[in-house]
Each structure stands twice: as C-alpha cells, then as structure tokens.
Amino acid sequence: MDDRRIFDSVGRVPVPLISFHLGYRLRLAWRSLFIQIFWNYRTMQGEGFLFVLFPFLRRLESNPERQTRLVRLSAGFMNTHPCLAPLAMGAMLRRMAGEQELDEHEWQTWREGLCGPLGTVGDTLIWDGLKPLVFVLATIVVLLLGSPQTILLFAVLVLLLYNLPVWGLRLWGVKEGWNRGREVLRVLEKPFFKGAKCWGDWIGAALLGLLLVAGFAKSTLFVPLAMGQFVFGCLLLWGCMTARWPLISSLVVALGFVPFSAWLAQLFHLGGW
C-alpha cells in the first residue's frame, strides 16, 4: 500500500492502528527530536511542528492549495513538552486526514488547548520525574562504583535507562494521538499519569536516603572536617533553595566556605573538628 492510500483510506471512519504503521510512527518520533530547533519567542515550537509534520502533509494532500492550507494549520504558535509532543502530532495528523473541512478558528483553539495540559504533564513526568530519578541514581552508582575503566559502559547504561522509557512514550504518543484524534487529551485521564508523580516522589525520596549514605561513604568517611563540609554544603543549599535564593550565588558561597572552614580548623588546631 503506498503512502497516499494509507492516508486516503482513513476517511471519517475509525481506522485500525495498522494503517499508521510502525515505520511512520518511528519516522515521526525521530523527526520530533528536532521540534525545538526553530524555537523562538513568537511561535515557540510552531515551526518545529511544521518540520515534523510536513512530509506527512505532502502525502496527505497533493493539491497545492489544500497543501498550503494544511501547512498553515500546522504552523503558528505551539509549545508543549518535547516527549509528549508526538501525542499532539498524531492527533493533528488524524484530524487533518479524517476531517475534510477543518474550521481554522476551531483548529487553532483546539491546538493551543493542547499546549498547557501536555506541557504540564510532560514537565512533571519527565523533567521533574524521570530525569532527576535516573540521574540521582546514576550519581549514587558513580559515587560508590565509579572508576575510569567503567566510564563508557556506565554512560551507555544510563543513557539507555533514560531513553528507553522516553522512546516508548514517544512511540506510544504517536499511536495514541492518531487513535484518539480530537479527544487526545482524554489520554491524560489514565491512572498512569495520575500515579506517576506520586511514585516518582516516593522513589526520589528513597533515593535521597541512599544518596546521603553514598555521599558520606565516598567523600567524608572518617574525616570529620570533610564530614562537616559535606553537611554544611547540604544544609546551605537546602536552605537557599527553600528560601528561593539564586542558585549560582548560593553555590559560590558554598565554594567559599571550603577553604574558610579548613583555615578555621587549622587556626584553632582542631585538626579536623
């Protein structure tokens, strides 16, 4: 079946998933890696969406005038989380394939309505969930087991640990977006999205406990001065972040405390507190 027939066969009736087969999903997910390449303050990811969808629009519509209209519909303001963007893209393609006459105003309202929910869920799930979890875990592993001989293996494992779920989410997003079309946001009602933040917080909190022990074990064991510097650094940044102080200034203060505390220890002959 050629590309055009795949899309033409969609019509207005529900289509089996197989018509938007894995090859297309992979291609769309791959192109979605570049949606922020044209990021700007006017349309944000708008042209990125156009970049991703354009090859599919060409297959969808051969009439130049109608193609230009679809291009116009695909561009314009858009901003969402990069990992959940395939959901929006799948849904947009489905609507463009299935609805003969799209009302431009309704389309823009619907499209912009996707930004907030998908962006918020994506930020919570990935930037504030998966990413900190994976990289806190990675730090613990490196603190305890890191050695120059294992750098390459470790890097590959961490990248796989982060990217496998993200790619799963991207491919699933294309599929779900295509299946649900206009009603794509209903997918966020799934229990997974509600439970993920809670689970992420619990796992993150438990990893923090591990990180504390790993930090002590690696850098401060049996050296009381270093232990004091570890604890001070921890409390200082915790306090500064809670008080919303600027991050860089807080870190420079923490850095300045290192020689100061060692100098004090020398001055008072504490020899390590």
């Binding site: 922020q36 390449i37 044209f38 990021w39 700007n40 303050y41 944000m44 156009l50 970049f51 354009f54 130049p64 193609q67 291009v71 116009r72 990069p82 990992c83 962006g119 930037w127 504030d128 990413k131 900190p132 990289f135 730090t139 490196v142 603190l143 750098i151 390459l152 890097a155 961490v158 917080d201 619990w202 993150g204 909190a205 438990a206 990893l207 923090l208 406990g209 591990l210 504390l212 930090g215 690696k218 001065l225 510097q229 570890f230 604890v231 650094g233 921890c234 409390l235 940044l237 306090g239 500064c240 972040m241 809670t242 991050l247 860089i248 870190l251 923490a254 850095l255 290192v258 020398q266």
Partner: protein, 236 residues
C-alpha cells in the same frame, strides 16, 4: 584538545534543549567521556559527580532563563584537564577549585546564551515557514541544516571563548597553563585548604535533591532509604 572542547560544546548545547535531548549533555555523562578522551578520566569523574546534582532544579522549560550548567561543567572539566598535575602529586585542589568557580560563573553567564540564540531563530523560523509554504524543498532543508548548525556553533563558540578567558585568568592568577602545572610549593600550601571541595559540592548537590524530594508525605521513604543503605553499608 581544542577540537574536542568545541565538539563536546556543540553536542552538549544541542542536546540540552535544541535537539535530541538524549541526555548526553548531563555532566555525569559528558564530563567523564570528555575526560576519558583527553586522557584525564579522573577529572571528568570528579566534575561529573560534583556538578550533576547542582542543576537538577534548573529546568529548561518553555521560555524560562536557566543557567547553562551542562556547558559550565564541561568548561570546568576542560580547564582542569588542560593543566597538567603538579609533579609527584595528583591534580592540585586549587586548580580544581578555580575550575569549579569558572564552571559556576560560565553556567551563570549562560543564562543569556539560549535567549540570544532564540532571538536569532525567529528569523530562521520565518524563512523556514515561507520556504515550506512555497514548497521550496531544498531551501527548507537548507534552512533546517543552517538552524541546526547555528545552534551547534553557538554552543561550541560559547565553550571555547569562556575556556580561553578562564584559562587566561588562571594563568594570570596562578601562573598555570597547558604546559605549566601549579608549583609543588603552592600545591602543598593550598591542597589542605581545598581538600573538602568534593564533599562540600556533593553535599550542596544533596541539599538541592533534598529540597526537591523531601516532603511530609515522603519523609518516611527518605528515612527508609537512608536506613536500608546504612545497614547495607555497615554490613559490607
């Protein structure tokens, strides 16, 4: 070495927000790999561990300005890896401390990098949209490649410029360079003062993670994780 710095700068900058987002840009991945390539893996590991946790709260979300912590970590690693270790000793703690400060400052200045690049991208975006509308496929492809290259070059240029600026500053302050290590006497005097650099930075990172994850409802998970880890550690 300069070529590697530029290449890593380009990849790290692209991977942070503009494209891919495979997380190769994270300090714990990029710094050790850079260290391995230039033959100083221990420096890469040091900055990978110490800088990784510091930027967990700085999210590259939407139009927010965020510190370029990944580029900062790379600059710190490149600086420390450039200066040879003091003869008979490991890399001087003073050099590591100066590189750390340079990395933090570079991350701070980096808040202006992405907004500047994004201002330029508006022109690329307008041209791209016009090219697509007029079905000028070659032009649209060329614009995409140009935008990708511009982002990559911005990262590479930023890293290279700050690398040389800070290297020059360290040469002026400490008398070190790519060929001249910190003299043994200076290293002896300062190593003890800066010995706590690693623990303090890891502690700072743990503080940032604590601010993110400690809540009333998660406190028992933290205590549980801590106790389990402590028991395992003591048993081992």
């Amino acid at each position: 070495m300069v070529g590697w710095i530029a290449l890593f700068g380009a990849i790290v900058y692209l991977d942070t927000t503009a494209a891919f987002q495979f997380m190769f840009c994270q300090p714990i991945i990029a710094c050790p790999l850079y260290g391995m390539i230039v033959g100083r893996p221990e420096i890469g590991l040091f900055f990978g561990i110490t800088f990784q946790l510091l930027w967990l709260k700085a999210l590259p979300v939407g139009a927010t300005r965020f510190p370029e912590g990944n580029l900062g970590a790379l600059i710190a690693t490149a600086l420390a890896a450039t200066i040879p270790p003091t003869p008979g000793r490991e890399t001087s703690m003073l050099v590591l401390a100066c590189a750390t400060l340079a990395g933090l400052l570079a991350a701070g200045f980096g808040r202006h990098l992405t907004p500047t690049v994004r201002q330029v991208m508006k022109r690329f975006a307008d041209s791209y949209q016009s090219a697509v509308m007029e079905t000028q496929n070659h032009l649209s492809r060329a614009l995409f490649v140009a935008a990708l290259s511009f982002n990559a070059m911005a990262g590479a240029a930023y890293v290279l410029v700050l690398y040389f600026v800070f290297l020059f500053a360290m040469h002026g302050l400490l008398g070190v360079s790519a060929q001249v290590p910190l003299p043994t006497q200076s290293a002896e005097l300062t190593d003890e003062l800066w010995a706590g650099l690693g623990p303090a930075l890891v502690g700072a990172g743990v503080g940032i993670v604590a601010e993110r994850f400690i809540r009333k409802r998660t406190l028992r998970w933290t205590i549980g994780g801590f106790l389990i880890a402590l028991v395992v550690f003591l048993c081992l």
